[in-house]
């Protein structure tokens, strides 16, 4: 409950990373005992904003930020997270930072243990004092009680269910004497519905005691339920800063993903009626991107978009079909079964893949562009080889590799000193073009592109998207494009599927209302049947 006294105000916060503006003129206020729901798509700038607030060293290392932060009316500039802690700001991260072999109490009091002095302290100083376990336990019980949850103070963290770990983290933050502000970064992501309910009511309880909370969540209904006010970030700017009363989940979703400019449905190619890619009950065990049960069909000549929030499994689909992670289910391409768990077989089914992990999987950083572009074609299709001794063995055909590289350097406008330059010396956008060239060199009928525009500048983005569109239009290449950027998918795809919790939440035409996409992403879709295009 807001008490009306100002606790925190941010004024004109801006931040850029190497000339890339990620936050622009962010200003908002937070009163005592108020809960702010901070929402935005991946990459909207939420994490960066919290890092600035918390004084993370990475901010100073990358050139600091502009603007002012006032806490209790005093301007503050934290140099380290410790300063922020001392000032009464607590933060609970998405990943747990608990010691598994310690009990709840020990974790809560970690590094702030209550101590008992003994005679050794007189000789050797404070470091010889022993833990006052009784007081520590009392403190833990008090913190747990404040949270309003049931937690065994003596249980080992390693034996706890996930929800209890999350509560322990929060209890640790509120155990601090002067905590005024809690930042909770997606605390409910790992919780079950009931646990999330409990957490929400504890947040209310904390707020009632005058502790302010910044609550970051992708589950929009939680925001509407618990927050007093909602701040929506999009592309590093605040697009909405309104009291939560009367705001619906649909509104938030639209603010989150919507662009002011209406997307023009670009002249799309006409796709055929025949199904080219058929995926049935696909599961993929890709760490952090688990696919549970995905079925969809892609028409011949279609550009099919797959969107959704990070970690929901959209990346797993392409990696699973390409055999890069353990997968199961049924995948047919052009009427032929694709053998899963075998990258070679996938490549031989005329499928190519541009990985989201450009530097890790997509490129041979230490080798020349010739190698990068021609290698996959050489290994999978036995091209660019010269047979020796009547085909007994074959050696690489450097001339044809060079010709291939030059062809793509010209057609994709790759900025480089020549085909012999090493891949690691290129900029992100040009590296991405190399990855595309590598895939195109296979002359695939079906192309998976994963996050093709991640981390590249606007100009390169446009070229990459235009290239994909051109290959689709001119060569009839069927493309499955996976991207976190919904606008991008809507601007290029015939249909867009949204993946949530490892399943397809729904498939929409690109012209559908942004709010509908937002709902599907937040797990509140119109139901499993979806609004098929």
């Amino acid at each position: 409950m807001s008490t009306g006294t100002r606790l925190l105000s941010l004024r004109g916060i801006s931040k850029e990373f190497y000339g890339n503006v990620v936050l622009e003129d962010i200003s908002f206020d937070l009163d005592r005992g108020q809960i702010i729901g901070l929402v935005g798509e991946n990459g909207a700038g939420k994490t960066t904003l919290m890092r600035i607030l918390f004084g993370m060293p990475v901010i100073a290392e990358t050139g600091g930020f502009n603007g002012t932060i006032e806490l209790d009316g005093q301007p503050v500039a934290f140099k380290t997270p410790f300063d922020a802690l001392d000032a009464g700001i607590g933060m609970v991260h998405q990943e747990f930072s608990l010691i598994p072999g310690f009990s709840t109490t020990e974790n809560i009091a970690l590094n702030r243990e209550s101590l008992k002095t003994n005679f050794a302290c007189d000789i050797f100083g404070k470091r010889m004092s022993v833990l006052d376990r009784v007081t520590m336990r009392e403190r833990a019980v008090k913190a747990i009680h404040t949270l309003g949850v049931k937690l065994d103070p003596d249980m080992l963290v390693s034996e706890m269910p996930v929800g209890h770990k999350q509560f322990t983290e929060i209890a640790r933050e509120i155990d601090r004497k002067n905590v005024k502000l809690l930042v909770l970064d997606e605390p409910t992501a790992v919780l079950t519905e009931t646990e999330a309910e409990v957490l929400l009511s504890s947040m209310r309880a904390l707020a009632a005691q005058g502790i302010s909370i910044i609550f970051i969540s992708h589950r929009l209904h939680e925001i509407t339920k618990v927050a007093d006010k909602i701040v929506v970030l999009r592309d590093g700017k605040i697009v909405k800063d309104v009291p939560v009363a009367g705001v619906s989940v649909q509104d938030i979703a639209a603010w989150m993903v919507g662009r002011d400019v209406k997307t023009k449905a670009a002249h799309l190619s006409v796709c055929k009626d025949s199904v080219y890619l058929n995926v049935e009950h696909l599961w993929v065990d890709m760490p952090g991107e688990t696919v549970r049960d995905v079925s969809f069909q892609v028409m011949e000549g279609e550009i099919f978009g797959i969107g959704g929030l990070a970690g929901q499994g959209k990346l797993g689909i392409a990696n699973g079909v390409m055999g890069l992670f353990p997968a199961g289910g049924q995948v047919t391409v052009g009427g032929q079964d694709v053998i899963l768990n075998n990258p070679h077989a996938a490549l031989n089914s005329d499928i190519a893949f541009v990985s989201e992990d450009r530097r890790g999987v997509g490129l041979l950083l230490d080798e020349s562009l010739e190698w990068n572009i021609a290698f996959t074609a050489m290994q999978a299709k036995r091209q660019h080889l010269i047979p020796v001794l009547g085909g007994l063995f074959s050696v690489r055909d450097e001339k044809s590799m060079k010709a291939l590289a030059l062809e793509y350097i010209e057609s994709l406008e790759i900025r480089c000193t020549g085909p012999r330059q090493r891949a690691k010396e290129l900029s992100g956008g040009n590296q991405q073009k190399i990855c595309l060239a590598k895939a195109f060199a296979l002359k695939p009928k079906l192309l998976f592109v994963s996050e093709p525009t991640r981390g590249i500048d606007v100009g390169a983005k446009a070229i990459v998207l235009e290239t994909l569109r051109a290959y689709n239009r001119d060569y009839g290449m069927t493309i499955v494009m996976i991207s976190s950027e919904l606008e991008e998918l809507r601007s290029i795809c015939h249909r867009v599927a949204i993946v949530d919790e490892g399943k397809i939440a729904g498939i929409l035409p690109p012209t559908a209302d942004v709010a509908q996409f937002g709902l599907l992403m937040s797990g509140l879709g119109a139901g499993k049947n979806g609004d098929a295009a």
Partner: protein, 346 residues
């Protein structure tokens, strides 16, 4: 001026220092009364003796398995090749060819098993390889005693069983390659056959690394995830590289033996990997990249120093300092290269 700087950067200070040191030894040799012609002949001979074992390291470096400290495994295959052939009583060129054949058979078997093992210890290959090499040599020390060799000039005199420590190759194929087409330039004997044989092996590896398999191998070493996404079996490529390396190690010891004139068994192969590794590193290779130039240049520099220091320095100082210098150079170079591992790779 800038071209000199880039040359130094490309060539590397360690190599320049070692090359200058070797040059100074050649200059000093006649002054302290050492026969320069004979010395150069020695250097060439030792270059031929060792080059193939250095070459054997290349495939595994390229495939990302690191420096093959398990080279003794290949050497054991070579020892089996030569001793079995001698037991069969084959001499001359036939003997050498049969020895190579048997070496290849054992090399493939050993290399395959060794490769499978290394696939289970990715990231720790070099450490594990060293101990695998040591263990294999010790296991074979027992085998040399119990295997049914019974030819009089192979086995120990009184017992009549168990191989001798050193077996003379003179009556079999000793100096066969060295003497093939040998000629002298101003008192310097050129071991033509040996150098041709080395050249053949270098050419073989050069071509092999340019085949589809060799290219895949290099990609596996450069980025295994990329290779896998391109449909290459990372494990298979690593195993193939280990097999090629092991076979070449075996052939390398055969070339060494015929020039040296003796087959040495028991613990002789124990430390054979270190000079080879050191030579490759002196040649400018890193833990992740090695070329034919590194092999030839490195072997020449390393063996040059090894040959010239005893004759020159001992003549000056009249003591056994040369052995100390050899050990410092060998191991110092390995340490230098390993500490630079990350720098070279990225």
């Amino acid at each position: 001026m800038s071209s000199i700087k880039t040359f130094i950067a490309d060539f590397g200070w360690p190599r320049i220092i070692i090359a200058l040191f070797l040059l100074s030894l050649f200059v000093a040799a006649p002054i302290v009364g050492v026969d320069l012609g004979a010395s150069i002949g020695d250097v060439l001979n030792r270059f031929g003796q060792n080059a193939i074992m250095v070459l054997a390291l290349v495939p595994m470096v390229q495939s990302g398995c690191g420096l093959n400290f398990g080279l003794p495994i290949g050497i054991l295959a070579g020892l089996l090749g030569s001793t079995i052939t001698m037991q069969l009583g084959l001499t001359g060129l036939t003997g050498l060819l049969v020895a190579i054949l048997i070496t290849i058979v054992f090399g493939v078997i050993f290399g395959y098993l060794y490769g499978k093992l290394l696939n289970n210890v990715k990231g720790e290959e070099m450490t594990i390889a060293m101990y695998v090499g040591f263990s294999a040599v010790m296991l074979f020390s027992i085998l040399w005693l119990v295997l049914p060799f019974n030819k009089a000039d192979l086995v120990m005199g009184y017992a009549g069983e168990g191989l001798r420590r050193s077996i003379a190759l003179e009556d079999y194929w000793g100096k066969l390659l060295n003497n093939f087409g040998q000629f002298s330039i101003g008192g310097t004997p050129i071991p033509t056959g040996l150098l041709l044989f080395v050249g053949l092996c270098v050419f073989f590896v050069y071509v092999f690394m340019r085949t589809r398999t060799g290219t895949a191998m290099t990609a596996v070493g450069s980025n295994p995830d990329f290779a896998r996404a391109s449909g290459v079996s990372v494990e298979r490529m690593r195993t193939v590289s280990t097999v090629v390396s092991t076979v070449l190690g075996g052939i390398g010891i055969l070339a060494y033996q015929q020039s040296f004139g003796w087959v040495q068994v028991y613990d002789a192969p124990l430390f054979m990997a270190f000079p080879a590794v050191s030579a490759l590193l002196i040649g400018g290779a890193s833990v992740t990249k090695a070329s034919m130039v590194n092999v030839v240049l490195g072997t020449f520099l390393f063996q040059g120093i090894l040959t010239m220091t005893p004759s020159v320095i001992n003549n000056v100082l009249k003591n056994e300092l040369s052995e100390v210098i050899r050990i410092i150079v060998t191991n110092g170079m390995i340490i230098y290269a390993l500490t630079r591992k990350t720098k070279v790779a990225k």
